[in-house]
Amino acid sequence: MEVRERNNVRTMGPEDGPTMVFAHGFGGDQSMWRYVAPVFATDHRVVLFDHSGCGASHPTAYDPDRHADLSGYVADVVEIVEAVADDPVTLVGHSVSAMIALLAAAERPDLFDRLVLVGPSPRYIDDDGYHGGFTAAEIDELLETMDANYLGWTQAMAPVIVGNPDRPALGDELAEVFRRNDPAVARKFARVTFLGDNRADLVRVRTPCLVVQSRVDVIAPLEVGHFVHEHLPDSDLVVIDSVGHCPNLSHPALLVAAMRDWLGGDRW
């Protein structure tokens, strides 16, 4: 299947602008970028997409084997970038997509010239001398909570798309979208997200990175942001005055300013 259809790829902004690709995190879809992407669309060619198994990705996009770990999502991103751009792009990844972005850049440095990592965490579970923020038992608890919302899942997530002004009304198709977004897939994505360990991959990334860290983030705490910054060969860390794991929604102006500052900076 064509990649654009598979991952519901949308573009906006000037065709001749530098390309900026936004990758959403666990629990959402491309509308998570609704307050950030349009700002950059004034002078960038902005590319949005839904991860396989999320949002309005094609029903056949999710493959339990391919997406059994992050490498399947990484392969998706590489294929998307190859399909939409001829030159290296700026990739913005939130939450688990920050890790997906790092792995993609480690595999294919030729495709990316800069990475923006919003709330990255290479490992959520505490380990010897490493504070990830969670114990293994707590992650199991998350999976239980997701199960508790099993019945209400469709109702809870539907408005994310309904209320998105960037996309035409999906009407009756909407219910279909959510029926096929099997809660079992979301649960698998939760396992892939929260049970992985990518600390050793950080050193493989040669691409310049900006780490954007919320002042308070219970999912990816401050010290995890520092850990990522210290272990990446070429990175800058910016702590913004936001609370929560989704500054792209709660504090978009702070995130945009930090990105503008770094992207437009004279570090080259």
Binding site: G27, A148, H245
Partner: protein, 526 residues
Amino acid sequence: MTSRAERWALAPVALLLLDAEVRVLDANHEFLRMIEVPDVEAVAGRRLADLLTVGGRIYWETHVSPLLHIEGRVDEVAVELRTPHGREPVLLTATEREVRGERLVEVAMLSARERSRFEQELVGARRAAEDAERRVRLLHGIAADLASVAGLDGVVWVLLRTAVTLLGAGDAALWTAQESGPLRRWGGAEALAAPTIDELTEPAVREDGTVVVPLRTAGALLGVLALAPRRAAGADPLDLGTAAAAGQLAALALARATTHEQSVSVASELQGAMLSDGIVDDPAVEISARYRPGVHDLQVGGDWYDTFRVAPDVVALSVGDVVGRGLKAATSMGQLRTAVRAASDTGLPPEEVLGRLDRFVDRTGTGFMASLVYAELDLGRGALRYTCAGHLPPLLVPADGDSHYLWEARSTPLGVRGTTPRVADTVALAPGDLLLLFTDGVVERRDRPLGLALDELAEIVTNALEAGLDGEDLLAAVVARAPQDDDACLLAVRWLGPRTTDGPAPAVEPTAGSAGGPSADEERPG
């Protein structure tokens, strides 16, 4: 009348007012009662996420908070509050509004203890149903794959493959019990350690998640299957129950494979023994034979060849094929082959030999539908009397002329009452003439007419002879060109001419069923 503020405080639902950073500004009595704190001061300033269980906290951050930002409201989200006595399941509704430039979040929560229990049962029941359905489908798949193979190698191959494709293992190893000595290992990386004594008794899960299942039928240990989990973070852990059920299928398949191989070996030994005494030794004739079992399913077929004397200077030749495969076909073949010897008699025409065999088949049921070519060769004069019961015609390769098939004297397979009577024909061989009797496994049919397939066989034989091959070498060359999947049985007879010490040769009478043609005596005087 109470004030609106008092009614908020006393409402029978838990109510919270949060600031932009989701910290508690105010809480009503019902909320304080739920989390068992005495007054608002005990929670003021704390983040709502901190009052939830960890699962609820992550869910809030990744799902609820984004929804609140985008929609300004969320409805009926199931989370759990942390209380001194454990968890309190609640249904949460929240709205966001701006008051004088300040973002405020209002939250209402209803205890969902009863509903939660009910939903958990529903979810549990649904998951159990899904698991059961998945397990049945998976076991069906394994059973179907196992049914498609017969021998031990095949069963082992299917088990190692389905362990990965269907059971979700990252790697798999199998150990099978041998008649004596240690377990024999098949497949799997070295990291998959051999089973311990304890693991030979009950299915077990090792510390690294490897599932080990002993394969037993009727108490006997036939093998051990070990499944290593996949390393991917999102991979589901291996399910012991499913692995144990698959183990039962595997044990049955191993038992069947063992029985099958014993039966195959008994049948092939039996067949070998029965065919071992079938070559007449006489200076007037060169006889060679070859039997090559098909590789189709390791089972022997019911093909045979035989030569024996019916008179001091008359040799009988028989090549036939009993319907079916395996031990039963091999024993039927043995009986029928012996019956041919018993039915033939000095001076009894071949067509009457067939008549006797028909009666044998009628009485015993053995050899029904068997096909057979039966011939008697007069070693003194070279006269060949032959008959074909549902069998392919013999190939005659004259010492000086083109080869051709003997298409006369044809009738139905044994035990079948056709409209054609049992008939025989006579041809006269010249010294050096070669006669080839064979079963249908020698002929490569593919999907083409029999005539073309027979032409090709004749050509193969001619070419091999021209290449200087003869006897066993000739038959080996022909068999090498035969299809691999079916049994192939061949008998080659070359008449060398009358023995110099012979007395007068018996006269050869054209048989009643002869379809005419030049008499052997006229054409080739002995």
